[in-house]
């Protein structure tokens, strides 16, 4: 096996194994309730992306330099079974992630392309809403980069002016935080966790948390706005229940993410925000990994050799 082929197989296999171990670990901790205190959307997003991000970081900053530095250029190793299986797993995980991303992006693009010609309504804060004739009470942000708000006429008709403004403010909050791109990342992230119940539960928890945070950003501390949004939510829910395809496509599981909680939260005085998630600090710390890993290159290379030879 040539040097480049071995390199590619080693990188893929390292990614596959690292990803598998981290995904199983996150899944097990999730089942054990280890992440129950996590409520913030960004913390849940980080946890969901953790296996893929850490695996990619380890492969690019630890495995790759260790292999390039210590592997003889003319080494001609025959790959073992473990290397091939792990590389196959990585390829499967990566292609499945790409497939999910392409599927979701295509669907969104089809919607966005047809939306510009629809009647749009402008709001005082600059938000543009495309109104569509739908029996379902759909109010949604569609698209990845060029996001737009789509609302069914029935929702606009059911809500009074202030309520609909709050509905639009809620969706605008999703646009401001680029929640659809985050959702795309959750869908496309190439990891084993996507196939586990914990991965699906984390996705649902993130969506529920993102909805609550969009409620908070939309209405702020203004009690009138909070009541208007709560009222709008009830009206949309009533339309959804009465509609021909009630409750289809809009659902979430997990504690604290229900309509009841959202409305009671809106009717209560705004709670103090949860402590901010130290996302930047974690990202900065991750940049130190390549430096800290330098003394470990020799050891890492021995592990790589074991991986290549195992099952030969």
């Amino acid at each position: 096996m040539s040097f480049p082929t071995t390199l590619v197989l080693v990188l893929l296999a390292s990614y596959g194994l690292c990803n598998l171990l981290l995904s199983v670990a996150v899944g097990a901790l999730w089942r054990a309730g280890g992440f129950v205190p996590l409520k913030r959307a960004d913390a849940l997003l980080a946890l969901r992306l953790l296996p893929a991000a850490v695996s990619a970081l380890a492969v690019l900053t630890v495995v790759l330099p260790a292999f390039l530095l210590y592997e003889p250029a003319h080494a001609d190793d025959k790959p073992g079974a473990l290397l091939v299986v792990a590389a196959g797993l990585a390829l499967l995980v990566i292609f499945d992630g790409i497939r999910r991303a392409v599927r979701a992006a295509r669907a969104a693009r089809a919607l966005v392309r047809s939306a510009p010609s629809l009647r749009t309504e402008a709001f005082e804060d600059g938000a543009q809403v495309s109104l569509v004739n739908l029996s379902e009470p759909v109010v949604a942000v569609v698209g990845g980069w060029r996001q737009r708000i789509v609302a069914a006429h029935c929702v606009a008709d059911a809500c009074d002016g202030e309520e609909f403004r709050q509905v639009v403010a809620h969706e605008t909050a999703h646009i401001d935080t680029r929640d659809n791109l985050k959702l795309l990342a959750l869908l496309a992230v190439p990891d084993v966790l996507a196939w586990l119940p914990a991965g699906r539960a984390l996705n649902a928890q993130w969506q529920a948390a993102a909805e609550i945070e969009a409620d908070e950003r939309a209405s702020g501390a203004d009690p009138h706005k909070r009541v208007a949004l709560a009222s709008a939510l009830i009206k949309v829910a009533r339309l959804a229940i009465a509609g021909p395809r009630s409750a289809r496509g809009v659902h979430a599981d997990g504690p604290g993410d229900g309509l009841e909680q959202r409305i009671k939260r809106l009717l209560a005085p705004p709670a103090g925000g949860a402590p901010a998630f130290p996302g930047r600090r974690i990202a900065t710390s991750a940049l130190l990994v390549p430096l800290l890993a330098v003394p470990l290159y020799a050891f890492v290379h021995r592990v790589i050799e074991f991986l290549v030879a195992f099952g030969r």
């Binding site: 569509v132 004739n133 009541v227 009841e260």
Partner: protein
């Protein structure tokens, strides 16, 4: 082709449409218009010895229908492919009319409280 018919604003024969698509064969246009008629997109009437075609709905109606179909398809897609939508109401499936009545009463009470006792 639909854009040409919408722009014209009244029934058009194949010859009329052909003027906008000189690069296409007359028979191709005839077949396409006939297929659109059979699919219910166009209405057909006699214009002298030829058939005249006109769209069954306006441009906005047509785009609205297309959009609605895509939204429904998206929402109906199973599993994770229904994503890339941030829907307003999560957990609607868990709500029932009785619960909504209770929640509405809470909203009403809060509205009254905000209005103050004197109003």
């Amino acid at each position: 082709m639909l854009a040409v018919l919408w722009e014209r604003g009244r029934a058009a024969t194949v010859r009329h449409v052909h003027a906008s698509f000189p690069q296409l064969a007359y028979t191709t246009l005839m077949t396409t218009l006939d297929r659109l008629y059979r699919k219910g997109v166009l209405r057909r009437c006699r214009l002298g010895r030829a058939f005249g075609y006109e769209p069954r709905c306006t441009r906005d109606e047509w785009l609205g229908q297309m959009m609605s179909g895509q939204v429904i398809d998206l929402l109906g897609a199973c599993g994770d492919s229904s994503m890339l939508l941030s829907t307003l109401v999560q957990a609607v499936g868990h709500a029932d009319a009785e619960l909504l009545d209770e929640l509405e009463a809470l909203v009403h009470a809060e509205r009254q409280r905000l209005k103050g006792p004197g109003t």
